[in-house]
Symmetry: C2
Subunit: 417 residues, 2 copies
């Protein structure tokens, strides 16, 4: 995985702790036997000692994992109150005849052990689709999983959700609302089957900010459009994508119940954590050797900016050219040209950049002659930035992805075995 540097945002400090950074949250993870590799955690739990206001977004795939359906139902019943997340890897519990029943049973098991209501449980699964998932590993492991909950258990939970991920993905920030110190942190998994639509791969976010669920939902739905939805590893929108946010109010601020300055502070914290997790997911894309970021500026609206940026980082031909460190810029222009948005190519400028240099490659409807050597130097870096300026409006957006490599084919030709 490419090492990313976190962008600095005034008023927000990155801290350790992931989903346990916020006060009142504990976590744990262990191997319960779904994954035959006993060294690999496959079951994770996040718990808040007080009930949380909660919000979530889900995959738009018509094939939905049973856990997605059960979580939607739970949050409806509980009126958006949640106290725990239970999540397994290695088996997606999707397309199984008894999948919903199993997921409900796991919620009941978790709730009983934690002494909470079953509808306060957010449940998620990730892994192979269409393989039966037995209840027995959950039954056997639940007492130990709950007993082991601790305020530094975030790493154990974060490793439990990994599948083909090569690194665990956690981010947390500290910030202030009035005089109150607040925390917001999250963990994510994802490496392949990543082309989120309205939601993404598994992401669990916790905060001690006191905020009413509908406002969390509003912030989450807005931010997901410019973070996770701008990420593509392979164009495949998963069946089990979910992002959940739990806010337990332990920071002690007066509950945020309307849009205003305090809501904006919370919203920015959520954006920072979600953008960082998105970039980490891109950098750890299956088989990736390079991190790609495309910025589209000068768009008429956000949809246009996102369509162009995402089209570039989704192109298999751009991705293989980046892997081959071949400045075959025509493929970038081609991908801009088939983006689903209404703009003209005449004013477009395209710049290829890395952290050490940049080169203008397209202007006035044609290639700008440039030094192949300079372009090659940029592509030799492991973080490549493609800047597209449409010069047609004032809106910008970013999208993130990775190169397409032999290892992607290898990982996915052999995934189940």
């Amino acid at each position: 995985m490419t090492t990313l540097t976190k962008e600095v945002f005034e008023g927000y400090t990155y801290v350790e702790g992931g989903v346990c950074a916020a006060k009142g949250f504990s976590a744990n993870g262990l191997n319960c036997g779904i994954n035959p590799d006993k060294e690999k955690n496959d079951l994770g739990l996040i718990f808040s000692r007080v009930p949380c206001q909660a919000a979530a977004v889900y995959t738009q795939n018509k094939v939905k994992g049973a856990p997605i359906l059960v979580t939607q139902e739970n949050l409806k019943k509980s009126e958006n109150i949640a106290s725990a997340v239970i999540v397994n890897s290695k088996n997606a519990n999707t397309c199984n005849p008894n999948g919903t029943e199993l997921a409900e049973k796991v919620c009941r098991l978790t709730a009983r052990e934690l002494r909470i209501a079953p509808e306060e449980v957010i449940i998620a699964s990730t892994g192979v689709i269409g393989e039966p998932l037995p209840l027995e590993p959950f039954e056997r492991a639940m007492p130990e999983l709950v007993r082991g909950l601790s305020e530094d258990g975030n790493d154990r939970a974060a490793t439990a959700i990994m599948t083909t991920d090569t690194v665990k993905k956690e981010v947390a920030v500290r910030f202030k609302i009035g005089e109150k110190e607040c925390f917001l942190g999250g963990m994510a998994k994802g490496s392949g089957m990543i082309h989120p639509n309205m939601a993404t791969t598994l992401n669990f976010i916790t905060t001690d900010v006191a905020i009413h669920a509908p406002l969390i939902q509003e912030a989450l739905s807005e931010i997901v459009k410019i973070t996770y939805n701008c990420l593509s590893v392979d164009g495949d929108t998963s069946t089990n994508d979910m992002v959940s946010v739990m806010a337990n109010g332990e920071a002690g601020n007066e509950e945020i119940r309307e849009i205003g300055a305090e809501y904006e502070i919370f919203r920015q914290a959520l954006f920072i954590v979600m953008e960082n997790l998105t970039k980490m997911l891109a950098a750890d894309g299956e088989g990736a050797s390079k991190f790609l970021e495309c910025t589209c500026e000068g768009a008429v609206d956000l949809d246009m900016a996102v369509a162009v940026a995402k089209s570039v980082i989704s192109s298999d031909l751009v991705k293989t050219a980046m892997f081959g460190e071949d400045a075959n810029c025509g493929r970038i222009f081609c991908a801009i040209g088939y983006a689903n948005a209404d703009f003209t190519m005449d004013k477009v400028e395209v710049t290829l950049a890395s952290e050490t240099g940049s080169v203008l490659v397209y202007k006035d409807g044609a290639v700008v002659s440039h030094s192949e050597e300079e372009a090659a130097k940029i592509l030799a870096e492991d973080k490549i930035y493609i800047l597209v300026h449409l010069h047609q409006g004032k809106v910008s957006a970013k999208a993130w992805g990775c190169d397409l490599t032999y290892d992607y084919v290898k990982i996915n030709g052999e995934y189940r075995s």
Copy 2:
């Protein structure tokens, strides 16, 4: 490339000759020096001794190769009369500052040598985007190219349009309209950057049927939706896609000027040739080791059938699983689920098939337990058929593609070098 068997259609006989099968057409191809490999033809010419009624469809990419713009303009000026196709490979003449001027000059060169009007020339280019294309190779080669035109020159022309193609692609059929013997044939190129939208890669079709241009356009626009537009190798819609049809009337039938029985005979011939070429393009996709065909039945309308079939054969995860011969059917269900169409999954049935057997893998919203051994046997074949029955309507469509292999990454990591 996988060897395909041509489907049998009553009343139509496959014949040799490609674009020269129809009476009155000749062709030639040679190396003019755009491609430094002197063994590889890079310039092709198709000529009709009498002017033709012509129709074409073009890429919908906003970045359009200069030859696309010039051909559109020519057919407009000539009121859909064409006499020749001039086409080069190795350089797409796209995103070049003087690209249009160059393409116009090549049309004039071709026309002068053939003693026709420049606007009767259809021009096309394929290859690298954004590299200047000099006029000199065309000037030098044109006399020899025209001198060498012959009624068995179709292979020379078909090889001239190949880029990363491993085989030349030609199909022709013989049929009758009334008592008149007619021919319709075509050639195609394409291997990567294939995800056509309203048109595709380069395809040139010739016929001796007498038919009015607007009817050719109607048949072409309709058939392209269920043939080339249902093809995907890598999700990248090219800048230079074009399909042209030229009809010179040498068969001697009374010109078809309205929709009726004779139009249907012509339309079916066009469909047969275009479907065969589409399948040949899929089987020779860059790096392909397997041919994939997805049939979607029971759709409410054609858009739905196409969306589902194309979603399956476009999925990188399905494609890598096929390469790995891994019956990871969950990926197929996932790709059906994110197809952009409005249907429910409950009634869907999915069957995996080869020429030797088939196995039902999905029904009633869940995986059907099946023998892994049987599934593995199917996937060991080099032609894989995925059958999706939506059970929601009566319309069906097919889509074609190939597996995603190490060789695809290799070819595209190194394409320019």
